[in-house]
Amino acid sequence: MDERMVMGRYVAAQSWVHQLDPRAKLTAMVLFLIAVICADYSLELAVITAFSLVILMTSGIPLRRYGRASKPLWPLMAFMFLFYVLFEHNGDVWLSIGSFTVTSEGVLLGLYAVWRMLLLVCFTSILTFTTTPIELNLGLEAVLKPLKLIGVSPQQWTMMITIALRFIPTIFEEANKILKAQASRGADYEDLKLKEKGKLVVTLLVPVTVGAFRRAEELVMAMESRGYVLDAKRTSLRYLTWQGTDTLFILLFIVLTAGMIIL
């Protein structure tokens, strides 16, 4: 089984970013998001970039890792760029083929969009690379607490996430076994044509779903027998400690975000 399924994207290292309280990191991420959306000049974006780079470089994780993390989103970025280039008609016309015109404004806006996207991806990566799933979950529960006022139970959400984290490795292992079993029965994924591949997915989905339901049923029973009652008051073995650096961290982001809004 792959280590990644258990630890998510967490990369173990000793850096000040790792030591931060997950609540601080989550809050900072929201502030960062606002700052990125509000920044609409290259100078502003450059300031945010410089700011992020400092954090990235001191996070104890090689920059390559962040680059790789953004890879799956490259097609989306390319699409966004093209979208602006093709549909923004203000500014100087640089190129015109038939009904398509490429303008300076379009290229600029496209570049900005990609830039923003990159910033966001790198910053979410900071969060997931430096925070273990357990910490992240605890942080989420704390940050979402205000939702209780509108009748949403953050405890339910975080329990759901815990269980997902707990069962993802098991379900992957099971799916892998079923895939091997079907290959043994003559349906090898690697050898199949595209149309047959679709059929194979069904042979995989049915048993995996049936298995997941069976597990869920048993798990609910196990949880009940161990005294779990939905939304009842409970204590927690894990707790988070807020430190001076966390306050400082948040303050930095407040300043940054405020700056972006005012400018």
Binding site: M1, V6, P133, I134, T162, I163, L165, R166, P169, T170, E173, R214, R215, E218, L219, M221, A222, M223, E224, S225, R226, G227, Y228, V229, A232, K233, R234, T235, S236, L237, R238, Y239
Partner: protein, 274 residues
């Protein structure tokens, strides 16, 4: 200490499973629950833990009537170990999982830590506390699950086919633990099992069939009744099977389920007839 009276139970849209079932188990007794497939062995022990409720009838645990109010306390007192070690883990580390039951009962944090360390030490699982449960073997997982139950100081242990997914070594290890819990900690034990060694180690065999307790006997009596044992999908261990077969064929050397005992009994009369 466990009293089930006039229990009626039926799953929706199916025939009645129990009609007027009655069972008393005194404190400290070790009872094996056996019976044909689908006879409701697992249902019975789920009733004791309050995971299922009878349609009528009463369940008392040590004088306390099992109802909506007492169910939480009764669940603490009746630790329930399930068959599939994978599906009773909730947390992502062993430590957090042992804590789960205590968290639900609002045990203060400092107290929890101390109790986790103590129980981990007792069961020899201290080294695994920070591991993800998926990285443990089946036998190791069951040991951790036992820790999660014992940490709540139960008086009754319910094992629902708890060893059936384990390899022989782990099974032996589990049986040893069960003996220990019974003898040294005086726990009352209800165990649904097909394991002959485990049944023979228990005090009493209760056969569930056709919705009632069809037989209530000593484990050895159960295996002596070959038809009944077969109906319960049980097979005697080799030594006992052999001594039963020998007795049937006219060579009575007594019933032995330990190989050494059998050998000792056989030895005097043994020689080679060419």
């Amino acid at each position: 200490m466990i009293r089930l009276e006039n229990i009626h139970f039926q799953y929706p849209k199916r025939e009645a499973l129990f009609s007027d079932l009655k069972l008393h188990v005194p404190r400290g007794q070790w009872v094996s629950i056996v019976g044909p497939n689908g006879s409701g062995k697992s249902t019975l022990v789920k009733l004791v833990n309050g995971l299922l409720s009878p349609d009528s009838g009463t369940i008392h645990i040590d004088g306390t009537l099992l109802d909506g109010e007492s169910v939480s306390d009764i669940r603490r007192r009746t630790g329930y170990l399930f068959q599939n070690p994978d599906n009773q883990f909730i947390a992502t580390t062993v430590r957090d999982d042992i804590a789960f039951g205590m968290e639900n009962r609002c045990v203060p944090r400092a107290d929890m830590k101390q109790r986790i360390d103590a129980i981990a030490e007792q069961l020899g699982i201290s080294e695994w506390l920070n591991r993800h449960p998926a990285s443990l073997s089946g036998g190791q997982k069951q040991r951790v699950a036992i820790a999660g139950l014992l940490v709540l100081n139960p008086e009754i242990m319910i094992w629902d086919e708890a060893t059936s997914m384990l390899d022989e070594r782990s099974k032996q290890d589990m049986l040893l633990r069960l003996r220990h819990l019974h003898k040294n900690q005086g726990l009352t034990i209800l165990s649904v099992t097909h394991d002959a060694e485990e049944i023979l180690a228990s005090d009493r065999a209760v056969v569930i069939r056709n919705g009632v307790i069809a037989a209530d006997m000593s484990p050895i009596q159960l295996f002596e009744d070959r038809n009944l044992a077969w109906e319960c999908r049980l097979q005697p261990p080799f030594s006992l099977a052999l001594s039963l077969e020998l007795r049937e064929k006219g060579m009575d050397i007594g019933l032995h389920h330990h190989e050494e005992e059998l050998m000792r009994a056989l030895w005097p009369s043994l020689h080679v007839n060419k």
